[in-house]
């Protein structure tokens, strides 16, 4: 299966600032998915990122708040903009490597103070 390197693993940020999370995959994939997992909760899809096109956002998530880049088939970034304490969550990226289920990154634990 694919291996995903997600950075940073954790960060503590001041409210009003932005954080960019990176996901690097060791193989080429068409779609990359970004999820949010709030403390003690399940995963919620933020957006789907295709290379060469704008990301598709789920209800409740907007591009201005969570801009996504997908410059090539192995890399994507998610930015959490103008952060507030409510953005404190774990953010995960995911891909379908083609077998053995979807692969997830280890997550970025974000705390906004």
């Amino acid at each position: 299966s694919a291996v995903i390197s997600q950075k940073p693993s954790r960060d503590i940020c001041q409210r009003g600032t932005s954080l960019t999370i990176q996901c690097q995959v060791d193989s080429q994939v068409t779609m990359m998915f970004w999820y949010r997992q709030q403390p003690g909760q399940s995963l919620t899809l933020i957006a789907t990122a295709n290379q060469g096109s704008e990301a598709t956002y789920e209800s409740g998530f907007v591009i201005d708040k969570f801009p996504i880049s997908r410059p090539n088939l192995t890399f994507s970034t998610l930015t959490v903009s103008n952060m507030s304490p409510e953005d404190s969550s774990i953010y995960l990226c995911s891909v379908d490597p083609g077998n053995y289920g979807y692969t997830f990154g280890s997550g970025t634990r974000l705390t906004v103070v």
């Binding site: 789920e58 979807y102 997830f104 280890s106 997550g107």
Partner: protein, 114 residues
Amino acid sequence: LAKTTQPISMDSYEGQEVNITCSHNNIATNDYITWYQQFPSQGPRFIIQGYKTKVTNEVASLFIPADRKSSTLSLPRVSLSDTAVYYCLVGVPSGTGTASKLTFGTGTRLQVTL
């Protein structure tokens, strides 16, 4: 996307077999059933996937009745390290060349003790 319903939590002793049942009454004809495991501070990890009847791999078995409206994940002889959250999902299977977003339900929090 079909909605899934699982027990919120389960407890087990080490060495026992654990069966976690998931309901998915509105499963579509083309949907597969997939289970993921998530440890604290990690992303979910694929366990097993199936369409009907029984699927077994080195870590678990998946039982799916003929009507496919439910499924049961069976973990044989659990150990402390199996303490995790287990998610049941239904939808387009991985590896089809048509990656699809996953919809996670609440999951089942399994606690294994001595």
